[in-house]
Symmetry: C2
Subunit: 183 residues, 2 copies
């Protein structure tokens, strides 16, 4: 029987210990019956010298992995602000358009609105930020385009874990949901 292939989207590739962190996640996928497809890293770029050529090689490599994948498990944990990594959001949209199931997790509890408040970005109106841009307030962990496509919702912890970049509790829940649906 062929194991469903899970593309592992998220900022893990930016960690100092990226390969180790992704290897741990890959093992969790295998134990659940899924074949993990971690993203291409900067060292798998074919050695192109030009930065744009390297960037393109990585991007096209990740698209090829997504084309092969059966599903995506995506990390919605906030990244340099109240919201998730844009590259991961792109990948979720890509898989959604291909009709492949999206499973999502975040390592921070609470809704998007609460994180905007915590970071002090909220304006005097309470519904808009300091630039007067409306803050989405649907009780969702992320922007509605992202949060509403996640099967079973966005898996999240009840309390903030010690290491929001490496915690595995919510990742495990997303993988279990994917395995239950697809294996």
């Amino acid at each position: 029987m062929t194991r469903p292939k899970a593309y592992l989207a998220g900022p893990d590739v930016f960690l100092p210990d990226a390969r180790r962190a992704l290897a741990i996640k890959a093992d969790i996928c295998r134990a659940a019956g899924l074949e993990p497809l971690p993203p291409v890293d900067g060292e798998s770029d074919g050695g192109a010298a030009d930065p744009l050529a390297r960037a393109r090689a990585i991007a096209r490599g990740n698209e090829a992995l997504m084309d092969r994948a059966d599903l995506i498990v995506a990390d919605f944990t906030p990244f340099r602000g109240p919201g998730m990594d844009a590259g991961t959001a792109f990948e979720v949209g890509y898989m959604r358009a291909l009709g492949k199931p999206v499973f999502a997790y975040t390592n921070l509890p609470g809704a998007y609105m609460e994180r905007v408040q915590e970071l002090g970005l909220i304006g005097p109106e309470g519904t808009r930020d300091r630039d007067r841009l409306l803050i989405e307030d649907f009780g969702l962990a992320e922007n509605l385009m992202l949060a509403t496509v996640a099967r079973g919702g966005v898996f999240a912890p009840a309390a903030r874990p010690a290491d929001i970049r490496r915690d595995l509790e919510s990742f495990r829940l997303a993988v279990a949901a994917a395995a239950e649906m697809l294996t």
Copy 2:
């Protein structure tokens, strides 16, 4: 002759004057020979009372617009941090997977790395942020998954405009590139 349909992705929907801002962009598209498809706004949600049902109605509405569109013109201007709006990133990935051309603009000059520096998020190593996450340094305006799919590159101003949420210079360049390729 049918005009190519352009989905207008970006945080305009969150502006206090969203409808006016999108009407101006729609007029620019029409003048260039494109049919504009602005995103669904919160008032076009079918009146559902439940927040999740409203979020879903908006998201499914935007997906239906993208399915009809021939191309996307996306705003990569930073949103509550150094990076772009996650919803817009999702939409770019969605259109990319459908093989539809992506045109992108940002109203801030400079590369992603410079914006991380300006916001004081850079760590002591110079290549990683304060959480020790690697900062992409390819000279691109955004994450490589996004920046490398933009036809003609990410259109950007030479200097910061007075109103980064409503400036039209870079939007006009992206629309002109789309019109040149598709009309």
